[in-house]
């Protein structure tokens, strides 16, 4: 029997654990953005000037980068959510959960590449 070197007591659940961690973190981030987003949209009931001033902050270059991060979180949460549904309801879901995660990561990279290019192009066109 060969001795295995362990790296401390960290639970190493591999793909299943890391997708769970990222799903939680992205979910919490989206939730707090949602609270802010309902509040900023509510400014349409205050005045057009108030709404336009606050929504103008979303057109700042730093916020453009933030929006790519936000959409990245939403897209991961969405695709990984589909993976969770497949693991729960599809007979072969638990057997292929790792392959499904790599599918999620692949689709996420493609979606985010397209979104990032389009979002940045629109930003520089209008700036």
């Amino acid at each position: 029997m060969t001795q295995t070197k362990t790296g401390g007591t960290l639970y190493r659940g591999r793909e299943g654990m890391w997708s769970w961690v990222v799903h939680r973190i992205s979910g919490v981030g989206i939730f707090f953005f949602l609270l802010v987003h309902v509040l900023d949209t509510s400014l349409v009931r205050v005045s057009p000037e108030a709404y336009d001033a606050v929504i103008g902050a979303y057109k700042n270059p730093i916020m453009i980068v933030g929006e790519i991060g936000l959409v990245g979180g939403i897209v991961f949460h969405a695709f990984n959510g589909l993976r969770i549904i497949l693991v729960d309801f599809w007979k072969q879901g638990t057997r292929y959960h790792r392959q499904l995660l790599w599918g999620v990561v692949g689709l996420w990279v493609i979606t985010m590449a397209a979104f990032t290019v389009r979002h940045l192009m629109l930003f520089f066109q209008g700036a």
């Binding site: 609270l35 057109k59 939403i74």
Partner: protein, 169 residues
Amino acid sequence: MTTKNPEAVLPAHGIEAPRSGRIDPKYLRSGSGSGSFEMAAWLFMRISGLALIVLIFVHLWTNLMMGDGIHQIDFGFVAGKWANPVWQFWDLVMLWLAMLHGTNGMRTIIDDYAEKDRTRVALKGILFVASAVIITLGTLVIFTFEPCLMDSSGELLDSVPAFCHDVVG
């Protein structure tokens, strides 16, 4: 090693099958009362999640990918969208499902990490109040929104969408 209970080391008497009624009811999953609620919450996360993928992806597509993207978003853009009852309904369903989905997710996380009873109750209290306020506020905004705003002399403001000039004249 000393044993006070001779039965513990004498399996000859027979070992009872697990879950044969010797388990304290507080450790049982069934009959705890909250079982059906947790089952409903679990199912809700999956059904609302599927709906939210469609609702949010279309929302992001129309607002950020179509037209001028982020630069088109101003008061007139919102007014133009909410002049259509389909978008009002769309945003209303999206608001409710996203808030309930998010609140239930946060509830799960609080239950997982807040170990003290008082901390857990306090955090969930803040969460539920905040969610109720945001859902109520968002719903009121969608239903009481007035796109064709006028100044004190009855003239339409510059920021109103174009269709207001046809409606108000």
